[in-house]
Each structure stands twice: as structure tokens, then as C-alpha cells.
């Protein structure tokens, strides 16, 4: 065993290596743009270079004349195609080729299709346009940006909260803070480029595209193209990182499908890194005002969190993270308000812990400030405000191991060695700072279907239209099936990433492991049931074992008393070669239409703050040490420790990797990532991987992940809480806290850069 494979503790599964690891290290895993397509033509996008206005003339002649150019799809060529819809499956309502309006910089104005990639690229460069320009609004403070309350604008954000009398409690609080915080624009930048490959066979359309939602896309694409969804298939066997960016379908998919229909051959469009910044979604910049009031004893009596978020002109994209921050601690009173600011930008979208990353950053930075104001240890401050029930609706937590996480992480980190005095810790030229923060992520699940087949030779096939974005969902689904059906994991084959498979929800909101494993579990139970009835039946090999409890292990059906029958013999008695079961899982509290919606590509989420009986969250505590060079102010993070509790851990290896990756994302959010915007032109400036900074190997040293055992039977049948988005929540605040401890500088606007620390 090595560090990558932590020994399982209570309620944790084995650190089995990823079932697709061999394919990934040999280059055999087929990402959508890798899949071979005969006679493929290449598509390259041309995009606008203004952010607001109208196209008055589009000049295509030069491009058309380029050798190898086959066709150009541009404004006016979308006849018979419906505009995209903004929502769960659609990234934006902007249909770039449906009319001449330009809503944002880098909007698609044409797709050039050519015999070769080189010819298509050269063709796209020859396209030019004349515009009637208007002055765009770039962001919060731009003239012309429109603000409105977020509540009710999105089904995901219904209302603001006013619980208890905040104003009264705040005005009389002995200790208080009133501060503002901000987070910048960020782009997911998965290393895989975005791409669409479209091919028609008669009226049947197949799309190869990295997707976190193949079923949703099938339905939405069919709607746009006005064709029957049974004729659409989305294939996405491996996804090269997603982080939310491949959740909603963009306008490009239908455009490439139209192009393929026109040129009567398959078309592959791989979007350049630069164009992806404007044609995909991103995390929009946010602002926060937080007021906290507490008694001298440290008990919080008043908490107010106001948030502002940027979105596009037409679409009300909102993250509204006050749902989590408002339930984090035992506040005496809670007031929250979220506002949207519409600007001339492409529509933002989900990015790893969409609400929590910015909102919990602001809350936790404020908590650290409060602890300082109270002269209290920040861990102790959180301990004092640990709630029995969530403070808004008074519901219990289905489980909450936050203090346990703090204890374990603090111990491993050596928190007790920290001298609380600011600037007091030093190592040669380096100022040393230590900080901490809480991580929280709502635990949800959604309806999901799966098909499981067991054959007499012990081979298992699991089919589920979920998505392997790097989380290890294929592996944990295989583990679940292997465990329930008593076979070795090598005998389990898992098929995913295809809308022709049983539908699964969008792989977002950290719901996949819970939803997929619950469906696989249900299908396995049905297989077991059939086998058990046959095995214990009159003609079965275990006839006469009565009502004894049966189980499956080592390719055998076994009784409690130690009798057993080989799988092959049970199948023989049944006179069949295989059992195949199709199961549909719906979480507790699902609406009667929940399963129908699953087939219609809409995931009905349950959990988080939505359930009647309890609220469901996973928690963690993160500790960070920073070192700041006393001359250059260079900031390094030599070590970090995170302890997380997330119900049943299916596989300690994949769980650790996800949490570790999340914590490193948190470093990126704290110190590196920001999409810079030219305010005059509403244009992203650093649209590549050279200038959009992400953590590189040399930025990261020791990252210690502690998996804290937790049992929660309430969340879902698998007992699993999602953890793919937990690790990067809170990290940035822990870094800000450590920077303050080292320097006395309280940085409230991310990212924290050298120039913030130079006197």
C-alpha cells in the first residue's frame, strides 16, 4: 500500500485501482475527439470580436474560396432549428446563428467546414464581419449593467432568508464585523478541449462529445433539431475533466449537427482553448457583504450574507450560496439576500461547487476575522457555534461530523504549535502563517437507472448512462456490483457515457456516486433475489435451507450456516445462462414524476436543504500553512491537511484523489486563478493556459487527506455523500487566514497575489 491507497476505516471500501487505469496509461481510453470516424470533415469556429451590437455584414467569400473549404454555416442557416434554451441542460438561451445580435465577445458567428483541420482553420481566419457596435457592460460597475433580485429567477434559488431579528441582534451585539469580499471570474479549463463530432445515418444522429449529461443532451438536441429523441445518440465514453463545464450543452452541438447534415458527412469540431473561454460556461465574479455579530463569549447572534453575481444579459444564472452559508453555524438570526447583475457576457455556468466556492470563501474569511475580533482561536470559535439544528428551518442534520474533522485535522496539522500572534512565526527569510476553514457541500441524489447482468460463469456487466469524468464512478459502480454479487472486480465490466444506456442524472452536484451506486445496488438486489429463490427452491442446490439468510461470495450463494452452492449450479437449476435486471432508483421524497423526468433528461435532486425531515451535508476542515518571503512576498503553500466526513466511502483511493484534487483547486482559487476582463470591451484577456494561471506541480507540496468515518443511513440507500466538490470549498479562506496570520494583511479579494502583500 502507498499513500494513494489509504487503508479503509469503518464504513469505507477498498482502495481498488481504477478499473479503467490500464486504458488510461496506455492511451487506449477513447475520449470523444479520439474516436475514429471515417470520411470526417473538420469544423473550426469563427467568433465575434465585439461584445455588443449587431452584425451588419458577414464576409464569407474569401473563406469559401480557400482550397479545401466545403461549407460555411453562419447566421441565417439555422432554419428549422429551434433556439437553445437556458436551464439545466442548456448553457444559454443565446442562439448565435439564429439572429444577428451579438450578446458577448467571442460569440460564434460561423462554422467553417473543410477537408482538413488546417484548411478549416485558415478558412475561419478569413471570415470578417462589420458590426453596428454598442458600448458593452463588462461587469458589476459598468454603466448599463442591470441589477435585480435573484430570488425566484431560477428554480434553483427560490427565496432569500430572514430568520429571527437580524437587525436587532446585530445592533446590540458586543463584537461585530461588517466586511466585503469578492471572487474573480474563473474558467474551468479542463485539459481536454471541448469538441463535437456529428454524424448522420439517414435520420439518425450520433454525437461524440464530452458530456456530463448524455440523456439530457439527447432530449435537448432533439428538441432544437426538431427530431425524435430516439434518433439522437450522445456518446461520451471518457471525459477529460469536466468540473461542470460539460454539464450544460452549448449552442455548438446543434450547429455542428446542422453542418454535418449539409455536407453529408461527419464533421468534427475541436474548439480552440481560446474560443472555449467565450463559447463555454465559466464561474462568474461575485461580491459579498457579510455582517456578523456575537457576544463576548463568541456565540454568534446575528449573521447576514448578501451576495452579488454577474450573469449574461438574457439568462438569469444564479448560484445563491447563501443556502449553505446560512446553515453553517448556530447563528441566532439569519438574513440573506442575493442579487444578479446582467452584463454583456456569455452566460456563466456550474463550476466545481458553484455556490459554495465563492460564498463559503466569504463566510469563512469573515469567520476568521470574527475570531480575531473576539481574540479567540478560530477552531474554538467554530466549536462554540456548532449547531444542533440548522438555524433557518430548525431541521436536524442527517449527520454532521464537522468537529470530528476539526479535531483530526488539527491534530495531524499540529495546530497546537501555532503561535496565534500575527507575524510571530518565521523560518529564516520566510514568514510562516497557519490558517483553517470549514468545507461544506450539500449531499444530494437523483433518480437513476441501471441494468446489471450476471452470467453463469460469474461475469457481470453493469450498464448505466452516467459519466466517467475522472471521479472513478466506473470503478465504484464495479465495486458495488462485485461486492453484492460476490465476484472478483476483474469480472465486472461497466458501460457508461452513452445515451443508449439506462439513463442517469447529470454528473453534477456530487450526486453520481450516490445515485449510480443506489441504482446498481437495487439491480443487484433483484439479481440476488432471483438467484436466492432458485437456490433455496425445491430443485435448487440449497433446497431445504428454509428461510436461512443467503448471501453471495466467491461466485457462490452461501447460507448463514456455511452451506454453499456454486453460481454455475444455481444457474443450471434455473436452466438459464444469465440473469439481467433493470432497476430504477428514486431518492426518498421524489415526486411521482421523478422517474419520468429522468427519461426526459431532467434530474430531480433530493437532499441538501430540500428534504422535509433533515438537511444533508458533507463537511470537512482544512488547515493550511503558507510561507511568505519577507523580501519578495512570494507566497508558497508547503503543506495542507484536510479531514473530511462523507458517509460511506466507496473507495478510499478515488475518494482521497478527488479530495486532494479539490484542495489543490482551492490553492488555485486562493493564489492563481482569475480571468482578467478588459472593462472597455467586455473581453477576456488571458484566454489561454499560459496566462490563465492554474496550479502546476511545483506549486504543490504535501497534501494530507484524512477520511473521517461517518455512517449516515438517511442520505440514500448506498449511504454515500458526494465528495467531488467538497475539497475545494473553504481552502481559499484557509489560505487567506494563514496569510493574515503571517503578515497581518487581511486580503478579502481573491486571488491573493504578491502585489497585495507588498507594502
Amino acid at each position: 500500500m502507498n499513500q494513494a491507497a489509504p487503508a479503509p476505516k469503518e464504513n469505507m471500501g477498498n482502495p481498488i485501482p481504477r478499473v479503467d487505469a490500464g486504458l488510461k496509461v496506455t492511451g487506449q481510453a477513447g475520449y470523444p475527439a479520439d474516436l475514429a470516424v471515417a470520411n470526417v470533415a473538420y469544423g473550426v469556429l469563427a467568433t465575434s470580436n465585439i461584445a455588443k451590437g449587431r452584425i451588419s455584414a458577414l464576409r464569407l467569400d474569401k473563406a469559401r474560396a480557400m482550397p479545401g473549404v466545403l461549407d460555411i454555416v453562419s447566421v441565417g442557416d439555422m432554419d428549422g432549428v429551434d433556439k437553445p434554451k437556458f436551464g439545466n441542460t442548456g448553457a444559454s438561451s443565446i442562439g448565435p446563428l439564429h439572429d444577428r445580435t451579438i450578446f458577448h465577445d467571442g460569440q460564434i458567428i460561423a462554422l467553417v467546414v473543410a477537408e482538413t483541420f488546417e484548411a478549416a482553420e485558415e478558412g475561419a481566419m478569413q471570415i470578417s464581419a462589420d458590426y453596428t457596435q454598442e458600448t458593452p457592460s463588462a461587469s458589476f460597475d459598468s454603466a448599463g449593467a442591470e441589477m435585480e433580485p435573484a430570488a425566484g429567477k431560477s428554480p434553483l434559488f427560490k427565496e432569500d432568508v430572514n430568520a429571527g431579528d437580524f437587525e436587532a441582534a446585530y445592533s446590540t451585539a458586543a463584537v461585530k464585523i461588517d466586511q466585503t469580499y469578492s471572487t474573480p471570474t474563473q474558467h474551468h479549463n479542463p485539459i481536454e478541449l471541448f469538441s463535437t463530432t456529428a454524424m448522420w445515418q439517414g435520420d439518425k444522429l450520433t454525437i461524440y462529445e464530452p458530456s456530463q449529461n448524455v440523456t439530457g443532451w439527447k432530449i435537448e438536441l432533439a428538441r432544437q433539431l426538431n427530431i425524435d429523441p430516439v434518433n439522437v445518440r450522445i456518446v461520451s465514453p471518457y471525459i477529460g475533466g469536466a468540473f461542470g463545464s460539460k454539464g450544460p450543452m452549448t449552442a455548438r452541438t446543434a450547429i455542428v449537427a446542422v453542418a454535418a447534415r449539409r455536407v453529408r458527412r461527419p464533421v468534427r469540431c475541436v474548439v480552440s482553448r481560446m474560443q472555449a473561454f467565450n463559447t463555454q460556461t465559466y464561474r462568474a465574479e461575485t461580491r459579498h457583504r457579510i455582517r456578523i455579530g456575537a457576544g463576548k463569549d463568541g456565540r454568534i447572534t446575528a449573521f447576514a450574507h448578501e451576495g452579488w453575481e454577474v450573469t449574461s444579459r438574457p439568462d438569469p444564472y444564479v448560484v445563491g450560496g447563501t443556502s449553505a452559508t446560512g446553515r453553517m453555524y448556530d447563528y441566532g438570526s439569519v438574513l440573506t439576500r442575493v442579487s444578479l447583475v446582467h452584463a454583456d457576457r456569455n452566460t456563466p455556468g456550474y463550476m466545481r461547487s458553484p455556490p459554495e466556492t465563492p460564498y463559503v470563501y466569504a463566510l469563512e474569511n469573515a469567520m476568521d476575522e470574527m475570531a480575531v475580533a473576539l481574540g479567540m482561536d478560530p477552531v474554538q470559535f467554530r466549536r462554540i457555534n456548532e449547531p444542533q439544528k440548522e438555524p433557518i428551518g430548525g431541521k436536524p442534520f442527517s449527520s454532521r461530523s464537522l468537529i470530528n474533522c476539526y479535531d483530526q485535522a488539527a491534530e495531524a496539522f499540529g495546530w497546537s504549535t501555532r503561535d496565534p500572534a500575527v507575524g510571530s512565526m518565521r523560518d529564516g527569510d520566510w514568514l510562516v502563517g497557519m490558517g483553517c476553514a470549514t468545507a461544506i457541500y450539500p449531499t444530494a441524489a437523483a433518480p437513476c437507472a441501471a441494468r446489471v447482468r450476471l452470467t453463469a460463469d460469474g461475469q457481470v456487466r453493469v450498464q448505466c448512462g452516467s459519466h466517467e469524468i475522472g471521479t472513478g464512478v466506473r470503478t465504484v459502480a464495479a465495486q458495488m456490483a462485485a461486492e453484492r454479487l460476490g465476484v472478483d472486480i476483474d469480472k465486472v465490466a461497466v458501460e457508461m457515457g452513452d445515451s443508449a444506456l439506462p439513463p442517469a442524472p447529470v454528473s453534477g452536484g456530487s450526486i453520481s456516486t450516490a445515485s449510480v451506486c443506489s441504482a446498481v445496488l437495487k439491480a443487484c438486489e433483484a439479481v440476488r433475489e432471483k438467484l436466492f429463490v432458485a437456490a433455496a427452491g425445491n430443485d435448487g442446490p440449497l433446497a431445504g435451507s428454509g428461510n436461512a439468510k443467503l448471501d453471495m461470495t466467491n461466485e457462490k450463494v452461501v447460507t448463514e450456516t456455511g452451506k454453499s452452492a456454486k453460481l454455475a449450479d444455481v444457474f443450471k437449476a434455473m436452466q438459464i445462462g444469465a440473469i439481467e435486471e433493470y432497476a430504477e432508483f428514486a431518492p426518498n421524497g421524489s415526486s411521482p414524476e421523478a422517474l419520468k423526468k429522468l427519461y426526459a433528461g431532467q434530474a430531480e435532486f433530493h437532499g441538501g436543504d430540500q428534504d422535509k425531515d433533515s438537511v444533508k451535508y458533507a463537511f470537512g476542515a482544512e488547515f493550511v500553512e503558507v510561507r511568505i518571503n519577507s523580501y519578495t512576498r512570494e507566497i508558497r503553500v508547503p503543506r495542507m491537511v484536510g479531514a473530511f466526513a462523507a458517509g460511506r466511502i466507496m473507495n478510499t483511493r478515488t475518494a482521497r484523489s478527488q479530495l486532494m484534487g479539490g484542495m489543490i483547486w482551492g490553492i488555485g482559487q486562493a493564489l492563481h486563478e482569475a480571468t482578467e476582463i478588459d472593462q472597455r470591451h467586455a473581453r477576456y484577456v488571458n484566454r489561454d493556459l499560459q496566462d490563465y494561471l492554474v496550479p502546476v506541480n511545483a506549486d504543490i507540496k504535501a497534501v494530507d487527506v484524512i477520511l473521517v468515518p461517518e455512517v449516515d443511513h438517511e442520505v440514500n440507500p448506498a449511504g454515500v455523500k458526494g465528495l467531488g466538490e467538497l475539497g475545494n470549498v473553504g481552502t481559499a479562506a484557509a489560505v487567506a487566514s494563514a496569510v493574515y496570520h503571517a503578515t497581518g494583511r487581511r486580503i478579502r479579494d481573491l486571488p491573493i497575489r504578491i502585489d497585495d502583500l507588498i507594502t
Binding site: R18, V25, G241, R273, G662, N697
Partner: protein
Amino acid sequence: MRINGQVYNLGLDNRTSLLDALRDHVGLTGTKKGCDHGQCGACTVLIDGKRVLSCLSFAVMNEGREVTTVEGLASADDSLHPMQQAFIDNDAFQCGYCTPGQIMSAIGCISEGHAGSEDDIREYMSGNLCRCAAYPNIVAAILQARDEMRRA
């Protein structure tokens, strides 16, 4: 051009990058495109044993050279290269997209003599971005493979 020991005679547009030649013309899609601008390392291959970003090299510039891609690492009996095995053992990836580039770069890093310490590895592997952020596991994998390759 020799690719993974096999001779290919290709007639290519002189604008075609080595990366696109491998992927679109030879059918070796193990080598990945993450930026096409020399900024991510996903396209790293070995040319005459040295690591090169294949997106920054025109295919025609490599006439007569020996190119090794991730598909060419496993031995004839299909057993994995120690670096591939080390990546599996240390869970040095999640989505796996940067992985072929990481593995090729890691092999180059060792043969250049830049894998002496963990700090060296971190520094000399920093041209290979991993957005899933498997970095500590990548360093562990390289240490494991380095020692095995030395013994071999």
C-alpha cells in the same frame, strides 16, 4: 518518420503539426491536444529520446526521426512500462487526459537526470498541467518508476 519503431510514409500538408499527424493521419490518439500552443504538455512525445511538445513541431520537421508515443511504451508482450504501472499504483490521474503527456514527460525527465529529488521532479514536470491536480501522486509515481528503471 519512424513512430514507435514502425516506418510511416506520410504525405502531409506542411502546416500539419506532429500532434495532428499522429492523431488524425496515423490514428494514434493516445497523444492528446490540450491547448495546441505549447502550454499544457498533454501532447508530449519523445523524439529521438527527448521530450518534445508535438503541437509545436510541424510533422515535416521530423522527417527521418524516431517518435515514441504512449502507445509505444508497453513491451511486445503487452506488459506495461514501469512508468505506466507506477501511474496506476499511485493513482497519478483522475480523468486521465493529461496522463499520456505526463508519462512521456516523466520518462524524459528521468533520462535527462532531472528526477534526483522530489523538488526536481516538481520543477521539471511543471510543464505538464493536470487540472484534476494529481500532482502529489504523479511525483510519487515518478519516484517509484525511477527506482525501478534504475534497477532494470
